[in-house]
Subunit: 258 residues, 2 copies
């Protein structure tokens, strides 16, 4: 189940907390880019080791695959993994097209997502690229297969739709469950260092990043009690996502093109 | 002409080149946030000294003033300056409203912009906030009053509409002049360290940042000769900016409300 460059590692084996900046200054340069797709307001993240040039793309979007591939080529990088945080309902993943544009790369998703991919991972697995690694934490509640990817120095985490800036993902379709989501955020994300930068899969207000400390203080939903949170989430009365009927079936193939 | 916290400083007095990350790790924490407004695709930047809490907002947008003020309050910051890179033609600045929402702050723009503001600056001036400073470099060509703000360790620069990611600002209205813009970018921006992060006032493709090295290699316009660049810019045949007739008159007041 584990591909090249992926290894299972318990949380306890991760190194001490260091600031991202300190790590970068020590010559272990991390290339980092945040990219935006405006129709579904999705953020895609490019992470790469400056030395080895190995790169990972998190949550690419189909319509932006050409842009992403060009940037990766411009920077002289080699994309080895295109990893989704979960099986998205609001856009089609770019992994399938990117695998063709950038041969040699593999798609990654959680086993619990039920989606096809080259590599299935689960909580505690690591996605390695050069001298860096992303640890997968299981953060279900929006969907059963939601993962949060945590950089190995715990300076930044990619929360998918589990935690958004001053918000969180919906819990009213797929395997949504507000109680699960509440526990995921509190045990797996709020347990990260307070200064850890949190990068969500979406933002609808033009914000790009938050921190554990900020969300623990200011998230209007997740600072509430579990009962209040469940009540809020069960009464949002949101519209059905515009692209869900085409996005979910496409994403269940997760870049596996027949 | 110079307000509190602003001082004139020659370029030669700036310290040696250090990575942003190194500086941050040395305990001189810089809070940095990139914010987006989707109608005009404008980026607003929040920079603050983690210790003193003094903050500067670059290129705020009217429609996002509430969001920006809330974030500044959430982070416990005190906005002392709202600085525009130039007199924008595509959106109304948020400085006027932000000055009301966050009393005690002042609007800043270049003298050459012709716009009103609390403080007028010019090339070589610095905008100080806590232990940090933004050096103003004159980068005309899109407009006569365009400034590029360079963080004092030269790790990041805010290029306004002078240099965009793989592009540049228009030169076909206001005081646009392609030859001036070519010289501005080559002498004032491409002379920064190759790893210097460049943050533009706009991006229309969902990219957030670039570097001096990247644009020197991959900018499709500014890697050309000056003659070729002038020819490209004089033949873009772009539509008149949608908001220009309301934005420019409003921005000439630059937050000075009668």
């Amino acid at each position: 189940m584990l591909g090249v460059g992926l290894s299972r590692l318990g949380h306890g084996l991760l190194g001490p907390v260091r600031a991202y900046c300190a790590m970068a200054s020590a010559g272990k340069g991390l290339i980092f880019r945040q990219l935006f797709e405006p129709v579904s307001c999705t953020y895609t993240y490019l992470l790469a080791d400056e030395k080895t040039k190995e790169a990972v793309l998190i949550d690419p979007v189909l319509e932006k695959a050409d842009r992403d591939a060009r940037l990766i080529k411009d920077l002289g990088l080699k994309m080895i993994y295109a990893a989704n945080t979960h099986c998205h309902a609001d856009h089609i993943t770019g992994t399938g097209v990117l695998k063709k544009l950038l041969p040699g790369s593999k798609s990654v998703i959680s086993k619990d997502s039920g989606a096809k991919a080259d590599i299935h991972i689960q909580a505690g697995d690591e996605i390695k690229f050069g001298n860096f690694a992303l640890e997968a934490r299981s953060t279900p509640g929006h969907t059963d297969g939601c993962l949060t990817y945590v950089l190995n120095d715990k300076s930044m985490a990619f929360t998918g739709d589990a935690l958004l800036i001053r918000g969180c993902g919906r819990t009213d379709f797929q395997q949504g469950c507000p109680s699960k989501l509440y526990h995921s955020v509190h045990t797996q994300i709020f347990s990260l260092p307070s200064e850890c930068l949190l990068y969500p899969a979406h933002d609808y207000t033009g914000q790009t990043v938050t921190t554990v400390e900020e969300e623990k203080k200011h998230n209007p939903r997740l600072t509430k009690s579990e009962a209040e949170f469940v009540n809020i989430m069960n009464n949002l009365n949101l519209k059905k996502p515009a692209q869900i009927d085409i996005a979910v079936p496409a994403n269940l193939k997760c870049g596996i093109q027949d």
